[in-house]
Point group: C2
Chain length 333, copies 2
């Protein structure tokens, strides 16, 4: 691998995404991408007695499904990179504690899935055979932890995003038939002073802008190089902000740009306000829909940019703004 | 790099630890390692109006000190790996938001510092010039978040460890005069069913045992190969458990083994019960004391094994056990 430009790594022997898997909750199962997911749950508990345990079960079974679909024996998988939104990332550590694969805990808020893919790619390109990345989120555990108890029946503001219940996971391998991860552009923390915890799209869009512009400058590519540029998860409001920011700098991404938080729910029929969010959103949209589009050659080159809001409820109560981050990877056939 | 054995990576061109830095709180400044730290604070707030903001300032100024001591311009540092114990790792993301270096958030509880060194080493050996790793913890913010408000004046149980107020940071570089990171052995999650949140040493010792045994088997080395085997942070109780577990498997580590949580406080004069803990404990003991011993050639080969308890207060209230993890790195001249 080699570093090109300011922040991008170009792989000499691009790692393959061998297989993906995803499991989603009931609301996601009513959305437009339902048919692409491996498993659609009928309720948010999945037989567990807490939302946290349900989320752990979702990431656990997603990774089990992944390994089973891949046909790769689990003792041939060298390392696992995983994280989630819960305090101290307990969904991943409890869900994957029986996995018996060396584990790197990661936290990038909703950017975690692509952070994991980036780290796994570097390990694989540097000599490792197989690595797993995984991330999860759960609407109920996230609302309870970051906002209000669901039992309170609070109204959500129009700019609020709906945390996806679900998990995505992928195996990155040294050899295979693609799709290949050709570049990664890990992002910097960007804080433009947004303080509204119900407007994460606005808080994260400047980070997506920064990483996207850096990626284009570092690689010399233009937006039109990609069949699709996909952020995860700016939602409707962040998506519009990113389009405007890019346009102001002379890049028109309107024709080939979409967002996982926009794609996963139906705007008219499902009332999610500003769209989906959460580590499980980008994870499941990529692992379910995008990966299958790549395998079917309906998409040949995509830029996946996962965005995260690096905040918690304490910092918000202390009047702090919300720093954002965005990590990008090029995936090509 | 190449994978050897089950979990270990051996570097063909071992990365150098170019420089380290650490800042610690007032209790740590009264301990036996005080003279090795870059800065000793007089109070837990350091001019801020919350413990969380104080912790952010500690990691921020530690990284600023590191860059300044290293003489490496910050725009030559490619990536940063950092994490802490606060919910959603806000100490790192707020503390390092102005750093302007691409950022990977990591979470391994008290194992975070060595997790960061491991990831940074892989990036550097694979072609990157310089990477930073950093971690922090703060006694007051940790007690507030994981246990009880300090104002309550709760008694601590004899098995409880004292979270270190402090941060450690290191620059890992492609070329230099050492000390070199020659191997990493990332650990698996190990859960032996310990449920006492006031006995983290017992929860983490089995993970340290698993990683340590794996490291010896993977490398063919024996405990006597190392001048020092240092865990961070099992404390007094976890240290004794690890010695016993190793002895039962035929490895006597008693003569060259110590623990950062044991080393940082004075057992007689400072009442910390089971010793120190926290991401800042291993971080500051390595960055302060151990690195200087290596540079002075008083230690030539050490195995640093940071241990983490992957738990939170919710999982504990839900009756869950405490999974542990331990990551090891060989550091040699």
């Amino acid at each position: 691998m080699q570093k090109i430009g300011k922040q991008t790594i170009k792989f000499d022997n691009p790692p393959t995404i061998s297989q993906t898997a995803c499991i989603v909750g009931p609301k996601e199962s009513d959305g437009p991408l339902a048919k692409y997911f491996d498993q659609c749950l009928e309720d948010e508990f999945w037989g567990e007695d807490s939302w946290e345990k349900a989320e752990s079960k979702i990431i656990k079974e997603t990774v089990n499904t992944l390994i089973s679909k891949s046909g790769i024996p689990s003792d041939k998988i060298d390392y696992c990179f995983a994280g989630d939104l819960l305090n101290q990332c307990i969904s991943s550590s409890f869900g994957l504690r029986e996995l018996n694969i060396p584990f790197f805990g990661i936290f990038g808020a909703c950017s975690t899935f692509v952070e994991g893919m980036s780290l796994a790619s570097v390990f694989v390109e540097s000599g490792i055979e197989h690595a797993i990345c995984a991330s999860s989120s759960h609407f109920c555990s996230a609302e309870k932890q970051f906002r209000f108890p669901l039992e309170l029946g609070n109204q959500r503001t129009p700019t609020a995003q709906w945390t996806v219940t679900g998990a995505g996971a992928a195996i990155i391998s040294k050899s295979g038939t693609g799709p290949f991860i050709t570049h990664i552009t890990p992002g910097k923390i960007v804080d433009m002073g947004i303080k509204d915890a119900n407007n994460m799209g606005a808080a994260m869009a400047p980070a997506a802008f920064d990483t996207l512009m850096t990626h284009f400058k570092d690689t010399g590519r233009k937006p039109s190089y990609y069949d699709a540029i996909i952020t995860g998860d700016l939602g409707y409001i962040g998506k519009e902000i990113l389009i405007d920011l890019m346009l102001a700098d002379g890049y028109n991404i309107k024709s080939n740009y979409n967002d996982c938080g926009v794609m996963i729910f139906d705007k008219e029929k499902q009332d999610t306000h500003a769209g989906g969010s959460g580590c499980g959103c980008c994870g499941s949209v990529f692992s379910g829909y995008l990966f299958k589009q790549l395998k079917a050659k309906k998409l040949k080159r995509i830029l996946l940019i996962a965005t995260g809001a690096l905040t918690n409820s304490t910092s918000n109560q202390q009047g702090e703004s919300i720093p954002g981050i965005a990590h990008a990877i090029s995936i090509e056939l």
